[in-house]
């Protein structure tokens, strides 16, 4: 029974982790920017989601609408990506170190904004997931809210696959990622595509943050805690790969759940031991590709 509970917790963690890292991977895959703000966007989504749901409840909104309200608030918070991308645009084409420094600057600024708007104390929504009840299968009990979040992550994975692999917009995005200058010469507005991709990636991060808020407190430690795990996912799955984000999130989610159960003091080390093994055995991760 403990094993099933552990696996369930791992998959819930993996679902949220996938959403955030899918955004990070999408942005790197197209724009070649390692977006350190992914953790900050996750925290922003959590704080904003908590505030929006509190406001919604104060207006007499039904708690049953928790999930859609959080998703909408996450999508709304993700619009901050417009501002971040607009500033990042000034360092496109420059050395990657500039882009990394710029996103790091945003991490520091986000930290102050979060502190200024929501204060230093963690914010908790309370036991809201219980409004969705539990699913009992034999001797096992699963919170339905967590199942819905996992299902949402699967839907997002499917939608991302469809968008990138099956639509003309996705083909243009892939071509832009591969050779932006040629795509531009064939009529693709790469500036708009970069904006679109960055905002979509940001929204994945903020939705991930919003969805996690009913199960954990929003705090100023969220960005760093998330980025530690997200980068493990990226290294294991392969930089720029959405499939890699999916598998990497499951691996990191399971590793984290196992270490929290058996060696809580070694949580980060256990994850990064696997990261080192992957870096040595497959430097480009499970699904990553070597740079041409």
């Amino acid at each position: 029974m403990a094993t099933v509970d552990l696996l369930f917790a791992a998959l819930f963690n993996a679902a949220v982790l996938f959403l955030v890292t899918a955004g990070l991977q999408l942005i790197f895959g197209v724009q070649r920017i390692v977006n350190l703000t992914a953790g900050s966007l996750y925290a922003l989504g959590a704080y904003f989601g908590a505030s929006v749901f509190e406001w919604f409840s104060a207006q007499g909104g039904s708690p049953v609408l928790l999930l859609p309200v959080l998703i909408l608030s996450g999508l709304l918070a993700g619009q901050v990506g417009f501002i971040v991308e607009r500033v990042l645009r000034t360092v496109y084409g420059r050395d990657e170190a500039f882009q990394l420094l710029m996103t790091f600057t945003f991490v520091l600024m986000f930290q102050d904004v979060l502190r200024y708007v929501w204060g230093a104390q963690p914010r908790l929504l309370g036991d809201l997931p219980s409004v969705y009840g539990t699913l009992v299968v034999g001797e096992f009990t699963f919170p339905v809210y967590n199942l819905l979040v996992m299902a949402s992550a699967l839907v997002v994975a499917g939608l991302l696959y469809w968008l990138i692999e099956r639509t003309s917009l996705g083909h243009v995005v892939r071509a832009t990622a591969e050779n932006g200058r040629m795509a531009e010469a064939l009529g693709a507005n790469t500036r708009r595509i970069n904006m679109l991709v960055f905002v979509l990636g940001s929204m994945l991060g903020t939705v991930g943050g919003a969805l996690v808020i009913p199960t954990t407190a929003a705090s100023l430690e969220m960005p760093i805690a998330l980025i530690v795990e997200a980068f493990a996912v990226v290294v294991i799955g392969g930089l720029g790969s959405i499939r890699g984000a999916f598998l990497g999130a499951i691996i990191v989610g399971v590793l984290r759940a196992l270490s929290l159960t058996y060696f809580p003091e070694l949580e980060v080390m256990s994850i990064y031991l696997v990261v080192i093994v992957v870096l040595v055995a497959r430097p480009y991760g499970l699904f990553g590709k070597a740079e041409a």
Binding site: H171, A185, L186
Partner: protein, 236 residues
């Protein structure tokens, strides 16, 4: 249709093109001949908006092109096939060719018609539509690159060294393709360094040397010009 007046382009402070003037009329095939490094590619890239001119004007159907980003130039009806073909490896042949129909949709010319015409010019492409862009030979990449630019439905096609590096067996196929593009009423401005490759059907040629146009006229006149013969000995 295309009118270039005293166009000058610098790259990293070095003057690459100096006061280039040329014209391309509707339905013409104009060839820009010059040695490697003479400035042919720089000129085509400047026309596409990939390089900003230092001076001069580029008029397209009477409207200035200078300052427009490349995607706006493409959407105004100028297609481009670069020297290295630059076929998207992550897309199939069919997706490469359909690209311009996504970025420049048109009610007057439906995507299906434009794609059909691109395959009409290079029917061989129909046999490997599902193949990935990375799985093509040099000649196949060149055909895809030209067909892809054609599916944009341009009035003018800029072809940078369309025969460069190709096996002699494929060159007649490319030349025939360019001839059928002309037959459709489109204009072509092609850059060429190997004068042996200049098709007989070109309307006019410009010879470029060290960033300046040193000759403009027919292929026959170029062959008779001593200065041109000195620069491009293959014309003799």
């Amino acid at each position: 249709m295309l009118s270039v007046e005293r166009l000058s382009v610098d790259i990293a402070g070095t003057s690459i093109l100096r006061a280039i003037s040329l014209e391309v009329a509707a339905g013409e095939i104009v060839c820009l001949v010059g040695r490697n490094g003479a400035g042919k590619t720089t000129l085509l890239r400047a026309l596409m908006g990939q390089l900003a001119p230092r001076a001069g004007t580029v008029l397209w159907h009477g409207n200035a092109l200078a300052g427009l980003p490349p995607h706006e130039v493409a959407r105004r009806g100028i297609g481009f096939s670069p020297e290295e073909s630059e076929v998207f490896a992550s897309l199939s042949v069919a997706q490469n060719i359909a690209f311009g129909t996504w970025t420049r949709p048109s009610r007057e010319r439906p995507a299906a018609d434009r794609i059909a015409f691109a395959y009409e010019v290079f029917p061989k492409l129909l046999t490997y539509m599902t193949r990935g862009g990375a799985e093509l030979s040099g000649g196949e990449r060149k055909m895809v690159s030209i067909a892809r630019a054609l599916a944009l439905d341009p009035d003018l096609l800029l072809l940078d060294e369309p025969f460069e590096g190709l096996s002699p067996a494929i060159i007649p196929t490319i030349a025939a393709g360019i001839a059928s593009i002309r037959a459709s009423g489109r204009a072509v401005l092609m850059a060429e360094s190997n004068v042996q490759h200049i098709p007989d059907y070109v309307s006019r040629i410009y010879v470029i040397e060290r960033g300046e146009i040193i000759f403009h006229g027919s292929l026959e006149a170029a062959r008779a010009d001593p200065l041109v013969r000195q620069v491009a000995s293959g014309l003799a």
